[in-house]
């Protein structure tokens, strides 16, 4: 048995070494730099202690980025999950061409987020505005990405358009695990569709709901590619996500150390939220 265990240790060793070198070591270096004033490329830097961290908490741009990111993440997560659950229910119903439709709904998932963003950027500016003008709705006759109050909605639209694909397929897989005999029984009981959904369907796909919620939340908290392709954080800083702030401030702004401190805090926040979410949703799963 010990020989067996040794083999198990050997299986992990190369991965642990590589992972340590390429992930942990750089991350530790990043944390180290967060206590300096390194600009990202110069040869000289000094230790500044917790100064960067203190400045983060008084920087309204950071607060603003957190606010946007959370607003975006919550709305996107909810919309993506509600819509993809609806679509999955539709695809699970007795309809013609089911595989064809399923294939189309999954299509956005295989496309590059960046390129999809570029395409939508053009559509928002030059195509959707034509509809707005034709319909005479003034709010939609201008590019919503150029409006500081509405630009975030544009980003949500693109993120949901693409995010639905994966979640729908997962929900559909979950729905297909439910034996039809269960529905037949409830039909005899005279339960309405609505009751059927909440009493039978939803509890049985709860694990899928959990994983979809957690993944959608995590992905949208890290939103970056969409921002780069659609608004670059603008107008002003109206759609600046935390990743975007770290990237632009750290590289274009030459404040690598300062934004490293921001990254450290951000890492803690995302990890905490994911763990809490998992605990909460899994707790509910067992209740049901």
């Amino acid at each position: 048995m010990t020989k067996r265990l040794t083999a198990f240790y050997w299986m992990t060793v190369p991965a642990v070494i590589l992972f340590f070198i390429f992930m942990t070591l750089p991350a530790l270096q990043g944390i180290y730099y967060s206590f300096t004033n390194w600009n990202g490329f110069g040869k000289h830097y000094d230790f500044v202690g917790f100064k960067n961290y203190i400045n983060i908490f008084t920087d309204n741009n950071v607060g603003n980025a957190y606010l946007f990111t959370f607003k975006f993440a919550i709305v996107t997560t909810i919309l993506t999950n509600v819509l993809s659950l609806l679509i999955a229910l539709g695809l699970n119903a007795k309809i013609k061409f089911r595989n064809f439709f399923r294939g189309i709904y999954f299509l956005p998932n295989i496309l590059s987020v960046l390129i999809v963003g570029y395409i939508f950027n053009y559509l928002f500016s030059n195509v959707f505005t034509i509809w707005g003008k034709n319909l005479g709705v003034s709010a939609f006759s201008t590019n919503i990405l150029g409006n500081e109050h509405m630009a975030w909605i544009g980003i949500v639209i693109v993120a949901v358009w693409q995010g639905i694909a994966f979640n729908t397929i997962l929900y559909l897989a979950g729905l297909q695990t439910i034996p039809t005999s269960l529905y037949e029984a409830s039909n005899l009981d005279g339960a309405s569709r609505w009751q059927e959904f909440w009493k039978i369907t939803f509890p049985l796909i709860a694990p899928f709901f959990t994983i979809n919620m957690v993944l959608a939340m995590k992905n949208s908290l890290m939103v970056f590619d969409q921002i780069i392709a659609l608004t670059n954080g603008g107008p002003g800083r109206a759609t600046q996500s935390i990743s975007h702030l770290i990237y632009t401030g750290g590289f274009q702004g030459g404040e690598f150390a300062y934004q490293s401190a921001n990254s450290v805090i951000y890492f803690i926040v995302i990890a905490l939220i994911s763990v809490l979410q998992l605990k909460f949703l899994q707790g509910r799963e067992t209740d049901m």
Binding site: F8, M11, F19, F22, P26, A93, F101, A173, I246
Partner: protein, 272 residues
Amino acid sequence: MRTKTNWLVLILVAIGTILILFPLYMTLTIALKNPEEMTRSVFAIPTTFHWENFRNAVKMTNFFQAFRNSALVTLCTVVLTLLTNSLVAYAIARNMNRKFFKGLYFYFISAMFIPFPIIMLPIVKLTSAMHMTNLVGLTILHTVYALAFNVFVYVGYIRSIPIALEEAATVDGAGTWSTFWRIIFPLMGPINATVGILICLSTYNDFLLPLIIISDQSMYTLPLVQYIFQGQFNTDFNLAFASYLMAMLPMIIIYLFAQKWIINGVTQGAVK
């Protein structure tokens, strides 16, 4: 009971697919028009197909070179990931009762939450010191970074495989390694499909890692070369859209042929 087609649902589902397909329809038609046709109507199907947009885009982006680079990196990453990540996950999954392995599990998956920008510059330093600023380095990095999420997915799956199978093999005198390759790995088909497809997509579509790692322009991947249409200086949308379409096309073609397999692959692993 539910034997007839539900027409209401069918119609709603069909409307949804129109919303999904519309941006792609626009991409295709814009890619085939020239600026004059654009001014006539943005929506209409082009009257003459301007295939020269594609020809010019191929020239401007050095498409075939970039495609070869993308394809090589993606292929190698998929193979390497499937072989290595599953092995690590197997060792962890079968020893979750031991502190070392359980610790390892959390060590790997916690990396899912590390914001990429914080490791960006240290990584650049490291890879250049190790002479890894090329496609090999890119492949290794993709494989290593995939570990976080893949260990999470694999471990869940492997634990659902009954341990009795392995015990039987051990009794027959097979070592741990051969047990894995002969018995477990073949059983992991569905989850390997899931992981393989996801890593294939994320590697093929990645922008930031190749941007900072690769110095030599002859090693640029497809997403990098699209940038020339996004710099501050571009006026020819038709050319840009032709190029975007070409960058997405390889994946779309694979998807068209292997659609069923891909969707099943993504879900099978998750159902367990």
